[in-house]
């Protein structure tokens, strides 16, 4: 089973890259949060793979924590997006530009 670790790590790196790309290029705040979720979940994938590689359970333990934290982060993030949407009728980050330099 251990032979495919490279492929799993590569997949996780690609997913992470896609997430980073999404954060940098997307304009809608909610899509940005989805991209951040993608980043965190790609990390989960690699953590599970490494955990298997080292035959060590702590990696999988960390995965549970990452999931919980990701959920909390999205909850707070969406709450903030909702309040900004109420005040300005937009969730487009390019239009959220009262603060500059």
């Amino acid at each position: 089973m251990n032979h495919n670790i490279d492929a799993v790590i590569a997949l996780s790196a690609v997913l992470f890259g896609l997430g980073v790309l999404g954060v940098l290029t997307r304009k809608n705040a909610i899509t940005i949060f989805m991209s951040i979720e993608l980043m965190l979940n790609s990390v989960n994938l690699s953590l599970v793979a490494f955990s298997r590689l080292h035959n060590d359970i702590t990696g999988q333990m960390l995965v549970i924590f990452v999931m919980a934290i990701a959920a909390a982060e999205v909850a707070v993030g969406l709450a903030i997006v909702i309040s900004i949407f109420r005040n300005r009728q937009t969730a487009d980050v390019t239009e959220i530009n009262l603060l500059r330099w």
Binding site: L40, F65, G77
Partner: protein
């Protein structure tokens, strides 16, 4: 380990972790009490907050003799972490009192309960950050602090600017915590452990083959998360936006406490993982990674960007945000020195930076609330309308520059001495820092100039005053800024006594 031994171990660990538990219990207590408090008396929730923080201070004094790692090496309790925990609790107390005088927070009759709940959670997170000796604990603690700060920054729900700074803050924040956790997963992949001391053992083992490139990338990613917390240069963009939009007491708190927590964690991470066996001097870096140069570059970038950008700021809160970025750059110099005096100088710097920066933000809050503006243009001649507030402001600004006679001078002096002690290699670093201090004088003096030397637009403007308790608090900040500048040795000796951290 059988069940009985496990229970005994857990109970022993719990007993040692008293201040943290007190804060955690206090958080729940505030939460429940807030549910039952009528809206008319909800301001009294703050009393509970101060009570919890006061009790935490008392139990911290009992923790200071302990040297132990608890919960299977998750958290270290040592003089180093206790020093920082004192800083967090004291700054939470001061920021809590500040919030009672803030009009932004009190005007729209929002429940202050949730404000203090989140603040307590943040203190808990920072206390765990200072002690975290395991990557898992580091990540959870840093996220607890981050999530609380997102909520506090966007606390003024109806204010567009507060919303905006909240959304920018959380996007930057969760992005860099994503980078950090990816770095953590790579480190775990390389070393097969999450514990910092075991990681050190793996790195020291000559038989282990570790790819230096992967290790560097992983550490850089972790540094991304940490650098974001202390607002160090490529990750500083959130700071000006977050500070400008946040309620001023929150901005003040964010600029000192989480920054100190970030530095505490950063230093523990590097010192525990990347040092060889303890010699007399204690600090021999492992050859596997040249993190000193990396940090030196970041330090120079951070202080230069902070100071130069601050020069053309027109908004006082934003200017103070850039100033706090610049100070993070100075403090980073203390992290990268491989010496006790460097660490002690850094701890001393963080301790007094807490007082003077909270003070500067406090005056900004009082003046800003009364003129209804944080723009420098609206502050012309305010010094004559509000001398009681403006004179302490000048003291804080002088201390932020590092004028002799204030604690800012002492701190910078100790830091530069520690840098120069490390030999000529670091000479250029000290030189850049001194040049930066000179640059910083321009924008700090600009505020003083506008307060006292410019004429107000309206010659018949009313004098500006503040309630007596608010002025008393002002002296709580202003007096130590002067006194510590002259009588600094007790604080420095305490920092010096707390530099050694246990590595388990």
């Amino acid at each position: 380990m059988n069940l009985d031994a496990l229970i005994t171990y857990t109970l022993t660990s719990t007993a040692l972790l008293q201040p943290e538990l007190l804060v955690a219990v206090g958080l729940m207590l505030i939460l429940v009490t807030d549910l039952f408090l009528k809206k008319t008396v909800q301001k009294w929730i703050s009393v509970l907050f101060f009570l919890v923080m006061g009790l935490a201070l008392i139990s911290l004094s009992r923790q200071s003799e302990v040297q132990a790692q608890v919960f299977s090496g998750m958290i270290s309790i040592d003089g180093y972490s206790v020093f920082f925990k004192y800083l967090f609790v004291v700054s939470a107390l001061l920021a809590g009192v500040m919030s009672l005088f803030s009009e932004e927070l009190n005007q729209n009759r929002r429940r202050l309960g949730e404000y203090f709940i989140v603040m307590t959670g943040m203190v808990l997170g920072m206390m765990l950050m200072a002690g975290a000796a395991n990557l898992l604990m580091m990540f959870v603690a840093i996220e607890l602090v981050s999530l609380s700060s997102y909520i506090l920054v966007s606390y003024l729900k109806d204010d567009k600017i507060s919303n905006e700074s909240g959304v920018k803050y959380i996007i930057y924040g969760s992005f860099s915590s994503g980078l950090m956790i990816y770095g953590i997963s790579l480190i775990y992949g390389i070393t097969g452990t999450l514990s910092l001391s075991e990681m050190n053992a793996v790195l020291q083992n000559p038989a282990a083959t570790i790819d230096p490139v992967t290790l560097t990338i992983a550490v850089l990613l972790v540094l991304g998360g940490l650098g974001y917390k202390v607002a160090a240069a490529p990750f500083h963009f959130w700071a000006p936006d977050a500070y400008q939009g946040a309620p001023t007491p929150v901005a003040a708190f964010l600029s000192v406490a989480p920054k100190a927590a970030g530095f505490a964690m950063m230093l523990r991470f590097f010192k525990t993982v990347f040092f060889g066996s303890a010699t007399q001097d204690g600090y021999v870096p492992l050859a596997s990674l040249d993190w000193v140069s990396i940090l030196a570059v970041i330090s120079v970038l951070t202080m230069t960007i902070g100071n130069v950008t601050a020069l053309w700021q027109q908004n006082v809160k934003r200017m103070l945000a850039y100033s706090s970025i610049a100070h993070a750059g100075y403090i980073l110099m203390g992290v990268l020195l491989l010496s006790d005096s460097g660490i002690a100088a850094m701890m001393f710097y963080l301790a007094y930076y807490l007082i003077m920066n909270l003070g500067a933000f406090y005056v900004t809050m009082l003046l800003g609330d009364r003129v209804q503006s944080y723009e420098l243009d609206d502050w012309r001649g305010l010094g004559f309308r509000a001398p009681v507030l403006a004179v302490p402001m000048v003291i804080f600004l002088a201390s932020l520059i590092g004028i002799p006679g204030t604690v800012g001078f002492t701190g910078k002096f100790l830091l530069f001495v520690a840098v120069l002690q490390q030999g000529s290699l670091y000479f250029w670093l000290a030189l850049i820092a001194v040049a930066n201090s000179v640059v910083s004088a321009f924008y700090y003096f600009k505020v003083a100039k506008i307060l006292f030397l410019k004429k107000s637009a309206d010659p018949h403007a009313e004098p500006v005053t503040a309630p007596v308790p608010a002025v008393v608090l002002l002296f709580v900040f202003a007096v130590p800024t002067i006194v510590l500048g002259i009588w600094w040795s007790p604080l420095y000796n305490w920092a010096m006594a707390s530099v050694r951290m246990i590595t388990g």
